[in-house]
């Protein structure tokens, strides 16, 4: 077939007026992923019984602001990297901002603490499984985001895969927050971040293969 014939074919028929992005279907996919993640958290880990007590503490809200900001920036990164030719120069700064802020909060918390309390602020009681639980909870959301991205047109597949993993990890850390007993910035700024970076790294590895189109 000659290129002119192809052009004639493309410019004829019922699909000349372009279809809209099936936003509703995409929202459904992502919601299913998030709900699965919440379901796993509720059934295997359980909701924190003293959530309300935790919510009285400023540190709790700093933590929530941090994970919500990461989920938001992750979402922006996914959206931007799913369309060809969209500017992404501001993404690194956008993603770094919440991380820098939580690290500043961590430094302040460590400096204000008595020297023998500092180790507890960093290690908490749950450091040995916190990151892996976030990574596990991110899986259903990760799959949903990749599925949606496959229907769009990412052109930088390694970045796009990493963004999918990052957004999924950040969303999972929000889900995990409803179980996790830790609220101190030094703990959150390290162990939560590790949990998010695991799916991010996996995304960067598998992106070129699973997102090809």
């Amino acid at each position: 077939m000659k290129t002119d014939d192809l052009i004639n074919m493309l410019a004829n028929g019922p699909d000349v007026s372009a279809p809209k992005i099936p936003t509703r279907r995409f929202v459904l996919f992502i919601s299913l992923g998030v709900l699965t993640s919440i379901g796993i958290m509720m059934t295997t880990l359980g909701l924190r019984p003293n959530m309300i007590e935790l919510a009285m503490l400023p540190a709790f809200w700093i933590k929530m602001a941090f994970v919500i900001a990461l989920a938001g920036t992750g979402w922006i990164a996914v959206a931007r990297l799913s369309s060809p030719g969209v500017r992404t120069t501001m993404l690194p700064a956008l993603i770094a901002a919440p991380v820098v802020l939580i690290w500043l909060a961590a430094v302040a918390a460590l400096m204000n603490a008595a020297p023998d309390e500092r180790a507890t602020l960093f290690w908490g009681d749950t450091w040995h499984y916190c990151s892996s639980l976030i990574a596990i909870l991110s899986l259903p959301i990760f799959v949903a985001i990749l599925k949606v991205m496959r229907n769009l047109a990412p052109t930088r597949l390694r970045h796009a895969g990493a963004a999918a993993g990052f957004a999924a990890g950040a969303a999972a850390s929000l889900v995990y927050s409803f179980h996790c007993p830790e609220i101190d910035a030094p703990f959150i700024g390290f162990w939560y971040l590790i949990g998010i970076l695991v799916p991010t790294g996996i995304g960067a590895l598998i992106g070129p293969r699973v997102l090809r189109w």
């Binding site: 077939m1 004639n8 074919m9 699909d15 060809p84 030719g85 769009l152």
Partner: protein
């Protein structure tokens, strides 16, 4: 990659601005179903992309037209990912570049494998390339699609039938005809990519 200016950054370049304006206008009219505008858009885009690919593929001149067709099909299939407020030329360039890099990556890998082969195998690999080229004829690839998708594309996009006529002939609903066309073109793009 640096020598081709990214259209996004070409503020002040009057010619590029003009191309952007023209393509953008044609493209938007195409989105609303204007076939003539959409054809003009594809034709103008094709000439730009051909020049771009010819420069990039100077070692593989035979591949230019194939990759051009693959890019045009990709542009058509992914049109909904274009944000109408952003520069269209940046979107087009990103897709063409993506398709080019995707091809180069696969081809470079194959070349590296060929390097280890002896003369006899090279003889076979040349016939391979010929077969590939013949197979990449879109018309022939079209025949490989599932019957319903193939028929829906042929009738509505080549024979000039209406959706209703096609629906009656295929004994499916009009909505399904449109779905079959859309899915068929996506499958066609995949076949084209896998054969190249």
């Amino acid at each position: 990659m640096q020598r081709i200016p990214n259209r996004e950054q070409s503020n002040g370049n009057a010619r590029n601005e003009l191309i952007e304006l023209r393509l953008h206008a044609l493209f938007l009219r195409g989105l609303t179903g204007d076939e003539a505008a959409y054809r003009d858009f594809l034709q103008a885009t094709a000439t730009h992309l051909r020049a771009f690919l010819r420069r990039r593929l100077s070692r593989w001149p035979d591949e230019v037209e194939d990759l051009l067709q693959e890019s045009l099909l990709a542009i058509h299939n992914q049109r909904m990912t274009y944000d109408t407020s952003a520069p269209l030329t940046a979107w087009l360039y990103a897709i063409a570049k993506y398709k080019l890099i995707d091809w180069l990556r696969r081809h470079a890998r194959r070349e590296m494998q060929n390097d280890t082969l002896d003369d006899k195998n090279e003889l076979f690999s040349t016939t391979d390339a010929d077969a590939n080229e013949a197979q990449r004829d879109l018309g022939k690839l079209l025949a490989l699609l599932p019957e319903q998708q193939r028929a829906a594309i042929m009738h509505t996009k080549i024979d000039g039938w209406s959706v209703r006529e096609t629906a009656v002939a295929l004994k499916i609903s009009e909505a399904l005809v449109k779905v079959a066309v859309h899915r068929g073109l996506k499958a066609l793009a995949e076949k084209l990519r896998d054969k190249s």
